[in-house]
């Protein structure tokens, strides 16, 4: 097996200009990974700065209400900056520092990864440029202000559909030009090798903490783990430590948008085929000629036409199962979790909650389900409020 791939997926489908920077990155990451000092520094910032480990919370009310399996919530929403994204950013920014890079660039969709990168850059005194689709800058103005507050420069991506995919293209184009002094902080388990592997390694803390905590609380592993999947970093990090534990069902939840039988969705496995995007071979939503098809989800974080190559591998080998949830189901799940537990999840995470709500009532009372609450919902209040207003006006 080629070490840059997961089975047939992944690889390095990039312009030759990027091969040298990618080899440098690969080498630097291998060294850092085997250096106990690097791990120590990462752990220090996760604990003291991010506020980790995030709790694994027993959702008593929801458990009683659903009357099936016991429900635990992995509270990545409690991390500094409000989502799991910071775990990965800290790892990459520490690596950038180690490589002597003073500038970082990043792409962002909803702005969560952009905010996390701007945060890491501020912390380590680096120059930060974030590419964001012009469309997304409109939709997520608050996060644009947050990034600017943190000292980052936000550059609108004006090409293509002006969303996350195009912001990623712009970031890659910029990196081709500036790779010598610039580190590209990718926000998900996507892109050319070594990014999908490296980002998963920085996110596996989610699964590692979950495993440790559930064994402490329940003395056994969960029966099912549910996480949302756009590019798939929170799910990849959550699943990875459980891959060998084949009794644990791993479920990734994609965005079905207005429904997978409409053109408005981002359900990569339900509707995609194998292809190449952003330097990787993976499942991809594309037209008959292989052009990448515009995707849609109410949650900007799941609005991505591809998916991390490791997920394609897990899908192919059937180790993980992938399902999809519509906008309406996700919004309903935001209300349900908010009212039963006092926790407002991000719209992305609400996709995982929504699927869990469907399966839990059919499970036994001594079974356990863990839902990854990958981020908090503050950023989505505007979307949900305007949706509610529209409903009222009907």
């Amino acid at each position: 097996m080629n070490s840059t791939k997961f089975g047939e997926f992944g690889g390095q489908y990039v312009p030759e200009s990027l091969m040298h920077p990618l080899k440098d990155l690969e080498k630097a990451y291998e060294e850092a990974k085997n250096d106990p000092e690097f791990k120590k520094e990462y752990d220090y910032y996760i604990k003291e700065y991010v506020g980790g480990p995030s709790p694994l919370y027993f959702a008593r009310n929801l458990t009683e209400k659903l009357g099936g399996a016991k429900v635990y919530l992995k509270r990545e929403d409690l991390n500094h900056t409000g989502a799991h994204k910071i775990n990965n950013v800290l790892g990459q920014v520490l690596l950038a520092k180690r490589m002597g890079k003073k500038k970082v660039i990043a792409e962002t969709g909803a702005g969560q990864h952009g905010v996390a990168t701007a945060t890491g850059a501020a912390l380590f005194n680096m120059e930060c440029t974030v590419f964001m689709g012009e469309e997304d800058m409109e939709r997520q103005r608050l996060n644009v202000f947050r990034m600017e507050m943190l000292g980052a420069k936000v550059v609108p991506a004006l090409s293509g559909t002006k969303t996350l995919k195009d912001a990623t293209n712009e970031a890659i184009r910029e990196w081709v030009r500036t790779a010598e002094d610039t580190f590209y902080v990718i926000g998900s388990v996507v892109g050319p090798h070594p990014y999908p592997m490296m980002v998963r390694d920085f996110q596996r803390i989610i699964g590692d903490e979950t495993k440790k905590e559930i064994l402490k609380k329940e003395g056994k592993l969960p029966d099912a783990i549910v996480a949302c999947v756009g590019g798939g970093s929170n799910a990849a990090g959550m699943f990875y430590p459980f891959l060998e534990d084949t009794d644990v069902k791993l479920i990734g939840v994609e965005a079905a948008g207005k429904g997978i039988d409409t053109p408005l969705h981002a359900a990569t496995f339900a509707k995609g085929r194998k292809g190449i995007i952003h330097g990787m071979k993976t499942y991809l939503i594309q037209d008959d000629d292989g052009n990448i098809y515009p995707v849609y989800s109410i949650s900007a974080g799941l609005d991505y036409p591809g998916i991390g190559p490791e997920h394609s591998y897990l899908y192919h080998t059937k180790r993980a199962q992938y399902v999809s949830i519509t906008d309406d189901e996700a919004v309903d799940a935001v209300y349900q979790l908010s009212r039963s537990e006092g926790i407002i999840p991000a719209l992305e995470s609400a996709h995982a909650v929504a699927h869990a709500l469907k399966i839990i009532p059919h499970m036994k009372k001594d079974e356990i389900v863990v839902i990854n609450i990958s981020g908090r919902g503050d950023k989505d209040m505007h979307t949900i409020v305007s949706l509610a207003a529209k409903e009222e006006n009907k």
Binding site: G11, Y13, P15, E16, D166, V176, E180, G275, I292
Partner: protein, 259 residues
């Protein structure tokens, strides 16, 4: 013999540099593309590169990105482009290459795409997002069909050049500077050293592209390379003249000084 290889041999004997011109298929519309390619030939282009528009052209700057958008607006599809190449082949023996992103090929199937190229008379493929590490999956088919899979080298390729340039036919595409395609006023001062270094490491002709936009630069790079590639400047010209073949012909003449 492959038309590209033959052309470079012919030019070498005449002590000339190959001029390679690029147009995006379907910009402004596919009916014009064949005429524009023939106009380039009449203007003095030795080899023509036809870009297949792609939704996410990672290696291209704004000029060629916009050309792709215009092509999509005109309703282009890959099958139309093959039909267009067939029409060009009825009238001309100019060596023809596709500039094509890998997903376009992979989506059609490596074997199927290569055989369609062979059928219509395409001589080579430039695939900007298929580095040496990944190219074997396509190369088995292009080799068998005697289609050149043109390898690209960049200023940072350094120790990789030898292995990348290990080819039997065609030419080596040297990316002039780091970055995407587009018109540039300045090039890195080390660019000549870089080209000499690539030249030392291969027996094949080398052609240089990215950023070359006028006669002066074409002349400058002719001293160091066997071929010079002009893309964005031609695409810009085609756009500004609404795809007028006569205007393109004289523009190319101006670049090649063949008039």
């Amino acid at each position: 013999m492959n038309r590209i290889t033959a052309k470079f041999e012919e030019l070498k004997k005449a002590d000339k540099t190959a001029f390679i011109g690029y147009v995006t298929a379907g910009d402004p519309e596919i009916e014009k593309t064949a005429e524009l390619v023939l106009a380039m030939e009449q203007g003095g282009a030795d080899i023509a590169e036809i870009g297949i528009p792609y939704s996410d052209p990672l290696a291209d700057g704004p000029v060629i990105q916009d050309a792709a958008l215009r092509a999509f607006e005109s309703g282009i599809c890959v099958a139309d482009i093959f039909a267009c190449v067939k029409r060009i082949r009825e009238k001309s023996d100019i060596p023809l290459l596709f500039l094509v992103y890998y997903n376009t090929i992979f989506n059609a199937g490596n074997e199927e795409f290569t055989s369609s190229c062979k059928d219509v008379g395409i001589d080579g493929l430039i695939v900007p997002d298929l580095p040496m590490e990944e190219r074997d999956e396509l190369k088995v088919y292009t080799d068998a069909a005697d289609i050149c899979l043109v390898p690209l080298v960049a200023p940072t390729s350094k120790e990789r050049v030898k292995e990348i340039a290990h080819e039997k036919s065609g030419f080596i595409y040297c990316v002039s500077t780091m970055g995407v395609t587009g018109i540039r006023d300045e090039f890195n001062e080390n660019v000549t050293e870089y080209l000499k270094d690539v030249k030392r490491q291969t027996n094949l002709p080398i052609a240089v592209g990215f950023g070359i936009s006028n006669r002066e630069k074409v002349k400058f790079f002719s001293q160091y390379a066997d071929g010079v590639i002009v893309g964005s400047a031609i695409v810009k010209q085609v756009y500004e003249t609404g795809g007028d073949p006569e205007a393109l012909k004289s523009f190319i003449s101006g670049l090649t000084n063949n008039n």
